[in-house]
Symmetry: C2
């Protein structure tokens, strides 16, 4: 397997749009606007047979007329016209292409797709697509996604890289990433994978310093052997979260109808994922729970969890969730912690784990409770439950927890469940790098994944 | 077991507040404001040793001074003073009491609580509490909940009745019910259960025509035998969703510390719940998934599910979720449906289940797809997936699905996942009685619960 250099795709020095259009409804216009809106600093070339200027910019009739060698060319023209322009790209020594157009193997047009694949190989072009949304890399201000901007929000810059064949799943994920408040490194919807496929992308992201965690949605791995080779290495470098749709027979049949994925049984996939320390998600929501914890948290020293809460019931439910995990257990607080807590806690607080601070607890009581626990050698990870509906919980409390997170070496996450007032604080905490979960189940899943991944990684090294 | 009449608690003809206060920060003021804000139509008596008028209203020194017999008295005074006023309530033949004050068994003051219990029995007062939020019944405009209004939202009137010991869990649930958009019938936080307990409340709600589904959070059932007797009957009347915290040993220990719950093993509880067709939730979020489907959906004719989607990947994931359930299966569309669909669907739509309408599908294509399926004898329940991030999905589509729901005899639910634009439509659909789920997992859980409950109910009848 030759490693492919996908740098021109993700960090192009210049770009061209073939099928650039003056019509605001056209993909070739939306993508131009994207580059302008993102503030892309390189040269943007526009290409169209109709060479009337667009937004006052010069339009070339062909990439062959452009003097510079092009790093990245986006093609947004009807399928039938693609081979001709791709041939020109080859002759112009274009380094990479994002082919967003549909009308290839996904509608049975296999021959046309094979032709594209052959041309990409012949001219050594790294081609993403066809039938895809393409690439978003907010750091280099690349964005080929032609999505209705008012329908979904754009995430902040961060460490999660996401790859998916499906544009629809990809756009949901992008929307949810923003909603969850964590940060995106790279996003790729690679569609039919005529050339660049998941293995190429995973390998690139494995070596990408801006990516802390690789998250992928797939309906079937095409190059099994290459994937297996990569799987051995990739989780040594960084965590990989995978959602493989088509787990059941009916699901696999639906996947075949969707992307013509012809994958082996899910069991065989799953065995590989497990063997090599992948984190396996069963649902899009689970995928996000995992992505979030891997983005912000480092390796825990062990599996002993302390739970601090302002609602007794929520503490019990979280204890159930932690105790139900085969991999996690409740911490036994050290004598020093107990002594410190018994000095600062009011009488109604029972000094134990879970530590129920009661509904009137505010920033001061949380501070006094967390301080010994941060330094407790018996505690490896901390769950802070905040029911923002209670009288004592307010923005000062959220700020206090954010402050403690900053000085905290151990993984610490929050559980907060509710609507407006809670959501406001969730955003406040998430955007400060403190992961917030909406249920004990989700929190336990995330901490288990974190523990298991680093146990795998450290064991194998 | 004598059936207790809790009508005076839930539908009082008149109310009194002992500990009524002019201080806006005091519970005895907040509860008065509640009654005024809700528009409670009966007479509201205020009682306090200090008889200075409050908001221009007369204040009585004791309930004994009130001439009318009182249906419901709310007591919000320090624990030590409770026996004296409760004695007066007894002498005044008060029918029911909501004792919100804390300071009883939950802080080790067992003797004081026993005294309260004995007085309630002696005078035949239905007493809720102590240490509770009390009762909300929006239809009769009763609301004893002293919660900070800006921290949580109030749900609309509907068919879900919720009971919990815990005030904190209760307030989270209330907030989430509003967030989910479905409707509340009765809410009870019953605290230490010195007198009225979960069995009394369940029995009342079993016979309450305004309640479609009973949802409860408990850390331990106190009267095992009475509960068992009731369990045999209650699920014949209506669905019951139960979240029993303290499932694990550590959780049970935490529950004991929280509410002194001394329950048998979770396994023994669970066996009873299962035997009598209770729907068992493991998390607050799951509790809501179940509550929602039982509020709006009637008995399905079978377990065959049709899936319609505008995102292929979401269709595959939902197929996986349905196929992973032991109780559900994918419907095989009838020949008549296939024929009708092949006439109306564009060529790129593969006529199968799941039916992937593609990302450009709007209201018309959804209508054309759903119409045959509504009438398909091979389909018992329908999942409509709408990815609102796609170009074709908009408010017209949401309105179309709401319209089809109105004429639909079969259970139909929606999956929509996303942030602002999606949430807006979620509220729109939920408030029209169309349940919306945020993941395939949640949707499958809900439909499975619906199918299992009615299979149990119809089998046993």
């Amino acid at each position: 397997m030759t490693k492919r250099d996908l740098t021109p795709l993700f960090k192009p020095k210049n770009v061209a749009i073939i099928g650039a259009s003056a019509d605001p409804g056209k993909v070739g216009h939306i993508i131009l606007l994207n580059y302008l809106n993102e503030g892309y600093p390189g040269k943007i070339y526009l290409v169209n047979k109709n060479t009337a200027p667009i937004l006052g910019r010069k339009v070339y009739g062909s990439v062959l007329e452009i003097k510079e060698r092009l790093d990245s060319v986006v093609i947004a023209i009807p399928a039938a016209a693609v081979p001709e322009v791709l041939e020109e790209c080859g002759k112009a020594k274009v380094r990479s292409v994002v082919l967003v157009s549909g009308g290839f193997s996904e509608v049975g047009n296999v021959e046309l797709q094979d032709q594209i694949t052959a041309m990409a190989k012949k001219y050594d072009i790294a081609l993403v697509g066809p039938n895809c949304l393409g690439i978003m890399n907010p750091r280099s201000r690349v964005n080929t996604l032609f999505l209705p901007a008012y329908k979904l929000s754009k995430p902040r810059i961060g460490g999660v890289s996401f790859i998916a064949q499906s544009g629809a799943v990809g756009s949901v994920i992008l929307d949810l990433i923003e909603g969850e408040g964590f940060g995106l490194s790279k996003f790729v919807s690679y569609g039919n994978a005529a050339d660049v496929d998941e293995v190429d992308l995973m390998e690139y992201l494995m070596n990408d310093d801006e990516t802390n965690v690789i998250v992928m949605y797939t309906e079937g791995i095409k190059r099994g052997k290459a994937f297996l080779e990569l799987a051995r290495k990739i989780t040594k470098a960084k965590p990989v979260v995978i959602l493989k749709a088509g787990r059941t027979e009916a699901g696999a049949s639906a996947a075949h109808s969707h992307t013509a994925a012809l994958a082996g049984s899910y069991e065989s996939h799953e065995a590989v994922f497990k063997q090599f320390g992948f984190t396996i998600a069963n649902d899009l929501t689970d995928l996000l729970y995992y992505a979030k914890i891997f983005e912000s948290e480092k390796a825990p020293q062990g599996n002993r969890i302390a739970i601090i809460t302002n609602g007794g019931g929520a503490g019990v439910l979280t204890t159930d969730a932690i105790s139900s995990s085969k991999y996690l257990r409740l911490a036994e607080l050290s004598e020093a912690s107990k002594k410190a807590l018994s000095k600062t806690m009011p009488l109604l607080v029972n000094i134990r784990n879970p530590l129920d601070l009661a509904g009137d607890a505010g920033d001061k009581r949380y501070h006094d409770a967390l301080y010994p626990i941060i330094n407790d050698p018996n505690v490896d990870m901390v769950i802070v439950i905040i029911l923002f509906q209670t009288p004592g919980a307010d923005s000062k409390l959220a700020a206090e927890i954010i402050g403690l997170k900053e000085i905290m070496a151990k993984p610490m996450i929050t559980i907060a469940t509710g609507t407006q007032y809670t959501e406001m604080h969730k955003v406040m905490m998430e955007s400060s790098g403190l992961p917030v979960y909406d249920s004990p189940r989700a929190a336990a899943m995330a901490l288990e994944a974190l523990f298991r991944y680093y146990a795998y990684k450290n064991h194998k090294e």
